[in-house]
């Protein structure tokens, strides 16, 4: 934060401090904090530098409220900020409305154990496009204290009884089940046809396809049985394979437990999942996959809080930079909670494909046939761009046509198409084939392979056309 920003901060702090003195209850303080924030101090609205913002709220929060609950509140507020920083918007689950701007949580639970509260968030995009009959998609963060740890877990918020996206989806999928069965039957015959090509794959593949459908549908209807059996299988496999290392592994595990408590400031996500050496417990995995959690030892938060407070009290003293601890905290919350949650919200929790990097997606698309590529391209913009990739089509071209072509005039996709139908550029431009692909891509992130060649081609075609008319 710039010096200017800090000065503004400080000015705000002073004014807030006065407010704090006037108010008695914590609730009133928080209310005034949020109002005060909304009224002015744009500087802090725009830049949520963690220490800067923490300092501000500490003034409000800890004026009369010390001890046990203050580091919890600190953590909640810090997490809230990080979520906002990652593009989330606050969400009021009661009124189903988006809370714009920075507002601290209002309804603090009574201090003391056990401490539990929930915060709701949504994303701008998902809010702008609510389809018919759908509520706004949102995620929920739950803070819970258990013993000396405080756990923050985040997941997609699916309200039972409400017509949520996921509910609609699962309804759809139920009806699809019948369809997909016929699909997989079709596949049977397809597979048999392609048997000569793909050799030994056939039966295995058909079976596995069916199994996937099954697994999916059963997940949908929330029967965990197959999952359990499946994961049991997996664990059995692991057992046989890992036979020797198993014991060692368990030992290390228990050691790790005790070690962890001492060392780690932050224990990050998926923890309970990894500790499931017990086969039966691992059945719950599929459920946990969608929940991200971060667990912190409360003791560790105290120095974290102290650093920030010191920083505040010390004012100009920059030697006690809270950098490292705050950064660790920030990074953990961001990486383990905010980012995966925003992916879930955007793509739905089952979207494993779109989360892969572009490089990997391309790699996967490489194995598709031309027709399948076109099909995948019809799914969404991003996949269309990927499925039109020059590299992909170059290899398709080289596989099919053996003419050592070095350079595609427009794109390799076009080259492929022309070669396949024996068309020349001119023929193509005259409308033998609809010239959709001559149009520049409307998508800003796609650079056509050779714009000049494209323009050139259209021009030549036009002059040729004119000449011919004469």
């Amino acid at each position: 934060m710039s010096t200017d920003g800090q000065n503004t901060d400080r000015a705000n702090l002073v004014s807030r401090k006065r407010k704090t003195l006037d108010c008695d209850s914590t609730m009133a303080k928080i209310a005034s904090a949020s109002v005060g924030h909304d009224d002015g101090s744009d500087a802090t609205d725009k830049s949520f530098s963690v220490p800067g913002f923490l300092r501000e709220f500490l003034m409000e929060e800890f004026g009369g409220d010390g001890g046990g609950s203050r580091h919890r509140k600190l953590m909640v507020i810090a997490t809230h900020t990080i979520m906002l920083e990652c593009g989330f918007l606050g969400f009021d689950e009661k009124s189903n409305a988006v809370v714009n701007g920075f507002r601290p949580p209002r309804d603090w639970p009574p201090s003391g154990d056990p401490f539990a509260m929930s915060l709701f968030y949504t994303l701008p995009e998902s809010n702008n496009r609510p389809r018919d009959g759908e509520s706004v998609k949102n995620v929920v963060l739950e803070f819970e204290s258990s013993g000396e740890f405080i756990t923050v877990s985040g997941r997609l918020d699916i309200k039972p009884g409400m017509k949520d996206t996921d509910m609609v989806e699962s309804e759809k999928k139920d009806t699809d089940l019948v369809e997909s069965k016929t699909e997989s039957e079709k596949k049977d015959t397809d597979m048999v046809e392609s048997e000569t090509e793909s050799g030994k794959k056939d039966t295995n593949m058909v079976e596995s396809e069916k199994e996937w459908e099954m697994v999916e549908s059963e997940k949908e209807s929330e029967k965990k049985d197959t999952d359990l059996v499946k994961s049991e299988k997996e664990w059995e496999k692991k057992d046989t394979n890992m036979g020797e290392s198993d014991k060692e592994w368990e030992m290390v595990e228990s050691e790790k437990e005790s070690e962890k408590k001492d060392i780690d400031l932050v224990e990050s996500g998926k923890e309970s999942e990894k500790k499931d050496t017990d086969m039966v417990e691992s059945g719950k995995e599929s459920e946990k996959k969608d929940t991200y959690s971060v667990r912190m030892k409360e003791d560790q938060l105290i120095p974290f809080a102290n650093i920030v407070i010191e920083n505040k009290i010390g004012g100009i003293d920059k030697r006690t930079s809270p950098g490292k601890e705050v950064f660790t905290f920030w990074r953990t919350i961001k990486d383990d909670l905010a980012v995966p949650l925003s992916m879930d919200l955007r793509y739905g929790s089952s979207n494993y494909f779109m989360r892969l990097s572009t490089k990997l997606k391309l790699k996967i698309l490489e194995s598709l046939s031309v027709a399948d590529l076109a099909n995948v391209g019809s799914v969404c913009h991003e996949l269309k761009c990927l499925a039109s990739s020059d590299k992909l089509w170059k290899s398709k071209y080289e596989d099919e046509f053996d003419d050592n072509k070095k350079d595609a005039r427009v794109s390799w996709k076009m080259a492929y198409r022309m070669a396949r139908y024996g068309l020349s550029n001119a023929e193509l431009a005259f409308g033998v084939v609809a010239p959709y692909e001559l149009q520049p891509y409307p998508y800003p992130f796609v650079v056509p392979s050779d714009t000049n060649a494209e323009r050139d081609m259209i021009l030549r075609a036009q002059t040729y056309d004119r000449r011919r008319r004469r």
Binding site: D190, V215, E244, K270, Y352, C380
Partner: protein
């Protein structure tokens, strides 16, 4: 080293959720990433693999062990790979692609991406959208145009209805 002691060297791999796995060096060096570490002499003690979770790493190690047990016979290796991947669900496959990429195991990478591609084969657009949870960001006109544009690819190919 293996040659000196006569017993196979084992490496200890650590997943990002702190599970430890022992694996024979000969199998582990299928991963170029691990092989480089071994060659650089960084493989003493525990090798941390920060981008792979325990469940996936267990799978990958199963594969490493399985494939390295097969002598140089491409046919057999191929059938092992097919069999190995046949019971994996899509989620696992996606995790494995990531792991294979990180570990730089080209053979696994190729097999898994081919397998994932196979899921998409001859599926309707609607099916792919639902299966992968992809939102349709085309307007109806755009979608029609894209379909039209791709018409040529479907000649002689039967696809499923758009359900």
């Amino acid at each position: 080293m293996a040659a000196e002691t006569g017993t196979p060297t084992t490496l200890t791999l650590k997943s990002n959720d702190d599970e430890l796995f022992s694996v024979a060096e000969s199998a582990a060096i299928l991963s170029v990433t691990i092989r480089n570490m071994v060659e650089d002499g960084c493989a003493g003690g525990v090798i941390p693999l920060d981008n792979v979770d325990g469940k996936t790493l267990a799978s990958v190690i199963t594969y490493m062990n399985g494939i390295s047990a097969i002598p140089a016979d491409e046919e057999k290796k191929k059938s092992y790979r097919d069999k190995f991947l046949s019971d994996k669900d899509f989620e696992t496959l996606a995790d494995m692609v990531l792991a294979a990429n990180y570990l730089n195991m080209s053979c696994l990478m190729d097999a898994v991406s081919a397998k994932i591609a196979q899921v998409m084969e001859k599926k309707s657009v609607g099916w792919v959208r639902r299966k992968f949870g992809i939102e349709n960001d085309y307007t109806p006109e755009e979608e029609a145009a894209v379909k039209e544009e791709h018409k040529w690819t479907f000649e002689g190919v039967e696809t499923d209805d758009d359900n």
